[in-house]
Amino acid sequence: MRLTLTINNQRREDYVEPRMLLVHYLRDVAGLTGTHVGCETSLCGACTVLVDGNAVKSCTMLAVQADGAEIITVEGLVHDGQLHPVQEGFWEEHGLQCGYCTPGMIMASVDLLRRNSNPSEAEIRHALEGNLCRCTGYQHIIKAVQYAANKMRSGKAAA
């Protein structure tokens, strides 16, 4: 059936099977492979994207449920060649090793910082409960989010 939505601010129209999962649509139809398929059981969070601004697990959503929605994937975070502060934080604070969970971690962190510009460590851990990392032990991920929060707040102050 027909699906009309915007991905990373670009409008798209596609014909998809109703049973196609959003994550497969993003990767196989839209060609955006930054969103990863992890556990496929809504546990690991590797497939997290923003749907109308809210973090969701795209393995547990049909593409047709996103009809009319605005979707942001990890590819949509870069602006004018500049990494998003959360991406920069993961780079600067070594928030990844293998990188598999990273796109989902970043999208969940973007959702958190939109709701809470100055989260405590406990709030960051709570917000990332739905994202599993098997490499880092999470500590560097927390630091990456704190880096991003500081940068985004000081950017606002300067503006």
């Binding site: 109703p18 049973r19 809504s42 809210n54 697990k57 409960e129």
Partner: protein, 289 residues
């Protein structure tokens, strides 16, 4: 993993959705947030030929106070329940429970109606809805009826919903002023499901005696239930530490506990007693505050 083939129908009204489930009968399933249904479809545990999406029906997305009752539409998402000012002020237990479901991504998609209709034995909402004595509204082509939460949960993933009915809302009387409440759970660390979850609310009279204690329990048995032995042991007593501990001992009375790789039956029963005591202690502390 993806579901077997189905036709997708997006209903614009309850009436349209009722028509579709009447037309397709057993071959149709209702889809709301999809966080119970889609995992089942992906595992091919169910292979319905038709999905009727009710998530965009405007009236199912409302939280409203009318005639002294508060109604939460079936398609209201967990996150909306968690942050609703109305629910936080008048049904704090429900809002607290919603904030403990799964994780952020799940709370952004999952809906209260879907959770209740699915009636997973490890779901969080049933405990709070039981403790708040909620009433589930079921609509069919023949009309609407209300079912008390206690009569709604029948067995493992089995509810009072009849073929041709849609769960459209759940409604509550506001909690009494000064009520204390708490939702405590032992989480399955990956999924966030409740291995055991306890929802408690109560109030203290002028003499400091516990009144109207209600305890909803999930995760322990095949269905969520009211722990009435705990309530009876508490009502009319001064809720000191010993009274709360003595009441909590009855949390698993008469229940045949579930067991799985996460917790044996004995461990689940012990968790139920411990988390009941903690929930009661927290509810009493809040009632005194």
């Amino acid at each position: 993993m993806f579901p077997s083939e189905f036709e997708y129908h997006r209903a614009a009204s309850v009436k349209e959705a009722l028509g579709l489930i009447q037309q397709y009968g057993d071959e149709a399933r209702l889809l709301s947030g999809g966080h119970s249904l889609l995992p089942i479809l992906k595992l091919r545990l169910a292979q319905p030929r038709h999905l009727v999406d009710i998530a965009r029906i405007a009236e199912l997305g409302q939280i409203a106070e009318e005639g002294g009752r508060i109604s939460v539409g079936a398609a209201v998402r967990h996150h909306q329940v968690h942050i609703s000012e109305l629910l936080r002020s008048k049904l704090g237990l429900l809002a607290e429970c919603a904030g403990n479901i799964g994780d952020v991504q799940v709370r952004n998609r999952g809906t209260i109606g879907g959770s209740l209709a699915h009636s997973d034995p490890a779901a969080d909402y049933p405990a709070a809805v039981l403790a708040l004595e909620g009433e589930v509204r079921l609509e069919s082509a023949a009309g609407a009826r209300s079912v008390k939460a206690e009569d709604f949960f029948i067995d493992l993933m089995t509810t009072a919903i009849r073929p041709g009915e849609i769960l459209t809302a759940v409604s509550f009387a506001p909690m009494p002023a000064g009520a204390g409440f708490a939702y405590f759970k032992h989480r399955q660390p990956a999924s966030g499901f409740a291995i055991v979850g306890v929802a408690a609310c109560l109030r203290l009279d002028k003499g400091g005696t516990c009144q109207g204690a209600r305890v909803g329990m999930t995760g322990l048995g095949a269905k969520a239930f009211r722990a009435k032995a705990v309530e009876n042991a508490l009502n009319g007593k001064a809720p000191d530490a010993k009274a709360l501990a003595d009441a909590a001992v009855h949390a698993a009375d008469g229940i045949d506990p579930l067991f799985d790789i996460h917790a044996s039956a004995d461990f689940r029963a012990e968790l139920a007693r411990v988390y009941t005591r903690r929930a009661l202690e927290s509810a009493v502390a809040r009632a005194r505050h």
